[in-house]
Amino acid sequence: MSRPVVVATAAAAVVVLVAPYLTGTYYQQLLAQAFLYAIVAVSLDFVWGYAGVPDLGHALWFGIGALSVGHATTVLSDVGLVEEVHGSFGRYALGTVAGVVIATALAAIVARLCLSSRRTNDFYIVVVTLALATAAVTVYDQTPALGGGENGLFGFNLQNVTPLGWYYITAALLAVTVAVALVVVRSDFGLLMRAVRDNAPRARYLGYNDVNVKIGVFTAGAAVTALAGAVFAMMTGVANDGQFSFTLATSMLVWVAVGGRATIVGPMVGAIVMSLAGAKLNEHFPAQWTIIEGALLIAVVVFVPGGLIGPLVRLAGRLLARRYPPRGRTVTAAAAARPTGDSGGGRPVIRIRDLVFGYGSLRVLDGVTLDVVAGELLCVVGPNGAGKSTLTSVITDRRLRAQGEVEYLLQGHRLGARPAAHEIARAGVGRKFQIPSVFASLTVAEALLLAGRRGAPPSPWRRSTSVEVAPAVVDIVRIAGLDGRADTLSSDLSHGLRQGLEVAMTVAARPRVIILDEPTAGLTAHERHDIGRVLEHLRDIGIAVVLIEHDLDFVVRVSDRVVVLHGGRVIEDGPPETVRGSEVVRSAYLGTAVR
């Protein structure tokens, strides 16, 4: 840790330790609640800010934790009134553990059902989390035997802890939560979370299971929130429908949005400040406070998307960084760089037989048979709509329902009958998209770091500072003009530089097969020439290079073999010269119907 961070942390610790002696029990209780809300805000920031899963019903997990403790420690009458409180240690512990387990299990189910790779927009998860929170309140109110119905449960607070005790307990819990959160978001796994949030498909085709990352973070967030809810219930001795409610869930969203998404510290401060202000205002103007919350939510979302507190934190960080430059990430060539491809050139690595794919009655691929060979630069050409991009999609993601066979002969990797995109990528099939696809909030070095791990789970605490990549990647970085830009954000790169970065990322994953969908689009003649050299180099070290391309001159110059697709079929397959002279190809390109 750098010196200013140590100083700031120590100052905060002193303030937190001394503060309760300057105020009365009332404020100690308020602050203890605020600290628990801050834990919730940090967990929601993880889920929403870093993993990009908007959980509009985050209060559900809090309520489950609280209700579980309440239910475990009370005895209810038939109509749901609290008759007795059994406050043994075992019951509190059981209630807490059960709450966390139930919330975790339910969150895992919800996430599994809502976060599939086929659904890319937020609508689905938003509606389902919203609906679940609403349904939870209804079920709660109409099932008095469970949690006392509309009256809720009360009077089961832990007896032998003073408000000052709770103050320090919650402060310690918050400190641990924030410390762990900061370590994780700064770690290599933190990079993966942001990568998945920014661009899930790109992460998937680098070998990462983006869906599982989201499910994992969502579930962990629910578990932490349920724990906070359980502690809240032990402290206040209250469990009711309000803890599940939409109102509380909205407050949580407001804390994170006002604090600033993806800053950890911002949402923490937001939750403490707003819940204190809310508690004070709520005493006098309950309805007005909700209006203020609504207005704040709108104002922040529409006018200050970065939030109010997070940017201040970042600004402070930047000012400090000027005095104490942080250790950046450097990109270096790996010392012992093994050849990435197969040594035995000329061996087929992907064998495609009679591949058929269509939407409804439209057949995009109509029986494609093709071998991709190691150490060969294969160009796939064809007019628009010939099925080139579809062919790429179908062989890099076998979950797409295509008929026919695709066999992957990649040494050391066994793939199932219908491997998913990330499994194929992990086995060594790299893919470069047609439109440059990068991770907006990652720097060049960070993107290459993730790519280089090729789907291996990154450490949730270690923060790599140097990125070792194959020499070929360093060449690409230089040729693409990315030299000296290791710490530049991908979103700040020009179109051409993004193309270069994406090619570099794809190669950094040490693929055996690399499929590039028009990597030269939007590049100058000079840059094309350089890209051509890179591709030839990749072929020479034994990688099977598949290039989807429009520019026939470029194709003839670089390729070893050319396949012409037309109407979803292979109409030519041979050396570039033959294909160039072919009558069939000429008529296909000029638009005359073939056959």
């Binding site: 389902v128 609906a131 349904a135 109409q142 939510l297 709108i298 979302v301």
Partner: protein, 283 residues
């Protein structure tokens, strides 16, 4: 038989609520979480004006007021977060909180009732039908047919469909997409206000009276796969599930069942209910 009637009535209610949501979502990609807020604005306008100037005047006034608020919200807020679905959802949710709370401040949280404009009932098929509820069913059918005819046969509908299919191309073809979008949002909000009044006489009215209708409505939109027939099918299906569960099991489980049905349907049909897909697949 009573269950069946309840199912028909609930279907009508869901469809009335869903239609405003669907046109806004379909055209603007805005999930209007303020729909319930606008319905509440509508129903309280109806309560104020109805007794003095008549129910239908109240309903019209509600539509106008909700439309005006919608126009302001679109101009001042939503235009700035265009095409960013999550931001629009949060902004409309904030708007909904504000509208609901303002109403609570003015009228209090207590439940109220609204007089029905159409009294009485009649007998048919051996059971009793309340005239007003039948009117609602007719209104729902009319709304669906009108929506279909509007998009299918009129120039306005053509323009709207162009904007839905490709906003940039529509803009380049000389269509003022900004105006079309604003008009759509205003129409959606006005419809919400109007429907709020329509549902007034059959509901206990409080500032959050439409809150329970919102979830089935959103789930229906989600299941619909962006087609009108999908919307009708899913709206009716969810209403039937809800009423059925409430009747044969506990009402509390009905809300959970509705969510489960929607999630399962979307698990099987990720693109939602779209009959055209089936037809094409069989060719």
């Amino acid at each position: 038989m009573t269950v069946l009637i309840s199912m028909v009535n609930a279907s009508a209610t869901t469809l009335l609520v869903v239609m405003g949501l669907a046109i806004v979502l379909g055209l603007m990609h805005i999930v209007n979480l303020a729909q319930t807020g606008f319905m509440a604005v509508g129903v309280y306008t109806g309560l104020e004006i109805g007794p003095r100037l008549g129910f239908w005047t109240g309903a019209l006034a509600a539509a106008v007021l909700a439309g005006l608020i919608g126009a302001a919200a679109e101009t001042l807020l939503l235009r700035r977060v265009r095409e960013r679905m999550l931001e629009t959802m949060l902004a409309t949710w904030g708007l909904s909180l504000i509208l609901t709370q303002l109403i609570t401040l003015r009228y209090g949280p207590d439940s109220r009732v609204m007089a029905t404009p159409l009294h009485g009932s009649f007998h048919l098929f051996g059971t009793t039908w309340q005239k007003y509820r039948v009117l609602l069913v007719v209104a729902a059918i009319l709304l669906v047919v009108a929506m279909w005819a509007l998009t299918r046969f009129t120039r306005v509908g053509l323009r709207v469909r162009m904007c839905m299919a490709d906003p940039d191309l529509a803009e380049d073809s000389g269509i003022n997409t900004l105006l079309v979008r604003q008009a759509t949002f205003v129409l959606g909000c006005a419809l919400a206000g109007f429907v709020g009044v329509l549902l007034g006489p059959i509901s206990g009215i409080d500032p959050n009276f439409a809150g329970n209708l919102l979830i089935p409505a959103f789930l229906a939109v989600m299941m619909s796969g962006r087609t009108l027939h999908g919307l009708v099918i899913s709206g009716i299906a969810l209403a039937v599930v809800q009423v059925g569960f409430a009747y044969w099991s506990k009402p509390a489980y009905a809300t959970v069942a509705v969510i489960a049905v929607a999630v399962v349907v979307l698990g099987v049909l990720p693109d939602g209910i779209d009959l055209r897909r089936f037809r094409r697949a069989h060719v």
